[in-house]
């Protein structure tokens, strides 16, 4: 009988825990899914939007803005959030279309295609509003999208991320 070498694999579970940043009545997270080039210097990105309600929120409305507060446009028209398909995480079937309401503790997510007309660094702001138990609720989320450029301006040297001072006053 051949000796069998038993390899004991120790799975060390971390006991680390996180005291997390608080959300408000309505939480909103936006993250990039991917950025693609569509030729002729233009591109697009998919962004994932996640809504989480801490209290019941009715009549949830979502709009997409640039960081200066103006509407995000596609072909010169503001992006219409109406056709968005919202799903619970892990679910395959979308929620019923129409008036969007979230019970306390509900999480819904969707994905949106965002146009990137030229190379650059973009900020896409998502604003969600709704009616909560204590009145209107508004929150925002933002995602930064780098298309063909890097927003990172430092250079690593010996374990130090060095920004070069651009402004030097005598």
């Amino acid at each position: 009988m051949r000796p069998v070498m038993v390899v004991a694999v120790c799975v060390c579970l971390s006991t680390t825990s996180f005291a997390r940043e608080a959300m408000g009545a309505l939480g909103l997270q936006v993250r990039p899914v991917d950025v693609t080039s569509s030729g002729k210097g233009a591109g697009g990105a998919r962004i994932a939007v996640l809504l989480e309600a801490a209290v019941p929120i009715e009549h949830v409305r979502v709009s997409f803005l640039q960081s200066d507060g103006t509407p995000l446009t596609r072909a010169t028209r503001p992006i219409d959030p109406g056709p968005l398909s919202w799903r619970r995480p892990g679910a395959t079937d979308p929620e019923d279309s129409g008036d969007l309401s979230l019970a306390a503790g509900t999480v819904l997510q969707t994905t949106l295609q965002v146009p990137l007309p030229h190379k650059g660094s973009y900020e896409v702001v998502v604003r969600a509003t709704g009616d909560g138990p204590d009145g209107p609720v508004t929150t925002e989320g933002m995602v930064r999208l780098d298309f063909g450029v890097s927003s990172i301006t430092y250079v690593e040297k010996d374990g130090v991320a060095e920004f070069t001072a651009k402004e030097v006053r005598p």
Partner: protein, 515 residues
């Protein structure tokens, strides 16, 4: 050979270049984006980079060999220090987001890969070893180092604040891990000490940075039993062991801003980080219930407000500078008063909740006093750390008579026989003259703070339990309800005990009705 040694030694000395000194001077600033409850104001101001490590670097060398001299910036962001050098070389100067050159101060801002951040000058070629250099004022701008140095400046304020209270800087080293592209969607404190992980877009959210840093202070000095995880400002009925450390972290973080007269010290705000004005994700005012008007200490927002009021004053940089903020808010106490409670009896409590803080305030070892003023502050926030008017009524013998359809009676679970402010567990007993055959409904309602009732109907002997109920509406409902038919015309007792959970206090209403 032996004769040659002194000669060789002499030649060696002669070959060494003489050390020369030159002075490096200049100033460092970073661009800040001021905020208030509306988010970013849309302005940019320059603030000094204080207590940052400085290094003069040989641009053509690596590692420790590259560092020619070390120093630090002063309270105005400026510096002037002597560099000993021997060679003409290409040099540059950099300021780091570390504080190793400041005795006792151990703060660091680093990228997730461990790299600390720095703001550097351009290379200065052919620098002679006796040539002084004034580097001018270097500015870390928004998007180009400003974020990292703003985080560093918050840690600096926090460290200085703690030093004013306890006489020394907090330790060990606290590291804020941040990058603009790390993919972090939420800030958090990593228990196990001592790392704060910051959201990519939160580097200008001073209250968020200071809140998470305050968890490090809790962890090191105050203790907490925070179950961690997702939590919401809008939740008025949080786990007590979560509400306290989260509310306390908001209070202490904003107290740093208050102490140093930073603008909008009363505002906790979380933004999207987007360019331009606004960008609020959520916010609340520590002085006014304009947002999240929760009553009771099962709310982290209410706790932050309750801890804020005894220490703020007319000079607080809030929305109403020059005046206090309401008739209930009359105290302006020293920060040490709260610190010693947090670091003392509240730390050693078996279950650490806001009740621990209240009791610790009046613990004989602390004896902070101001009972009437503290009750006024807490009453205004629905935290009734006071005996109700029917006390003492722990037993049938002490019970107060009530009549059906007469309530509701506003009650508290809080007993304080010696009147020193520190409470004890409480049971409320009432007696009622019932008519045989009549159906009575007894309910508890309006449960605030940790009120969690267990309701019993006792027979005339005061001991036999005829009926009882813990949770009227299911497990998560702390209220109780009973519908009973009086077996005869006689006196019966209603006993309300605090159900077992994380706390022992709270307020509630009792009502007895019959058709």
């Amino acid at each position: 050979m032996r004769r040659l040694l002194p000669v060789l030694a002499l030649m060696g000395c002669a070959a060494s270049p003489a050390l020369a000194n030159w002075t490096a001077s200049g100033c460092l600033a970073y661009e800040d984006r001021p905020q208030d409850g509306t988010g970013f104001l849309g302005t940019i101001v320059q603030l000094p980079v204080r207590s940052a490590d400085l290094e003069v670097i040989d641009a053509n060398k690596k590692g420790n060999q590259a560092t020619l001299a070390r120093s630090k910036t002063d309270a105005t962001g400026c510096f002037s220090f002597v560099v000993s050098d021997t060679s003409t070389r290409t040099i540059y100067l950099r300021a780091l987001t570390t504080s190793t050159q400041t005795s006792g101060m151990v703060i660091k801002v680093a990228a997730p890969n461990g790299s600390v951040y720095a703001l550097r000058t351009a290379n200065l070629p052919n620098h002679g070893p006796s040539t002084n250099v004034n580097f001018g004022t270097l500015v870390a701008t928004v998007g180009n180092g400003g974020e990292a140095f703003n985080v560093f400046d918050q840690l600096k304020d926090g460290a200085e604040f703690v030093k004013t209270i306890r006489g020394s800087y907090p330790s060990p080293t606290v590291t804020v891990e941040w990058a603009s592209n790390a993919g972090q969607l939420g800030a958090s404190f990593l228990s196990g000490c001592c790392t704060v992980i910051l959201r990519d877009y939160a580097a200008y959210d001073d209250p968020v940075i200071l809140h998470e840093w305050s968890h490090y202070i809790e962890y090191q000095y105050w203790g907490n039993q925070n179950p961690t995880g997702t939590h919401a400002l809008a939740d008025c009925n949080q786990n007590l062991k979560l509400a306290f450390p989260e509310g306390r972290a908001s209070w202490f973080g904003n107290s740093v801003k208050r102490y140093f007269n930073r603008p909008a010290a009363n505002v906790y705000v979380r933004t999207t980080g987007a360019a331009g004005p606004g960008g609020v994700q959520n916010w609340f005012d520590l002085e006014a219930e304009t947002q999240y008007p929760c009553d009771g200490y099962a709310s982290e927002v209410a706790i932050a407000r309750a801890m804020w009021d005894p220490l703020d004053g007319v000079n607080t940089t809030d929305d109403t500078p020059g005046v206090e903020d309401g008739p209930a808010d009359t105290l302006t106490l020293a920060d040490l008063e709260s610190w010693q409670v947090n670091a003392g009896p509240a730390r050693t409590a078996t279950t650490i909740t806001y009740e621990s803080f209240w009791d610790g305030w009046f613990d004989p070892t602390i004896n902070n006093g101001f009972l009437a003023e503290m009750r006024a502050v807490h009453d205004a926030l629905g935290m009734q750390f006071r005996p109700d008017v029917y006390e003492p009524n722990e037993s049938p013998a002490q019970s107060t008579s009530i009549v059906s359809n007469g309530g509701p009676w506003q009650l508290t679970f809080f007993s304080d026989p010696d009147g020193n402010g520190k409470g004890q567990a409480d049971t409320d007993v009432f007696r009622i003259a019932a008519t045989g055959g009549v159906v009575y409904t007894v309910t508890t309602s309006n449960l605030v703070s940790d009120a969690n009732t267990n309701l019993e109907i006792l027979d005339t002997n005061g001991t036999t339990v005829l009926a009882s109920n813990n949770d009227c509406g299911g497990f998560s409902d702390g209220s109780s309800c009973l519908t009973v038919t009086a077996p005869r015309t006689d006196t019966f007792y209603i006993r309300v005990k605090h159900a077992t959970d994380a706390g022992i206090y709270g307020s509630y209403n009792l009502q007895v009705t019959n058709p």
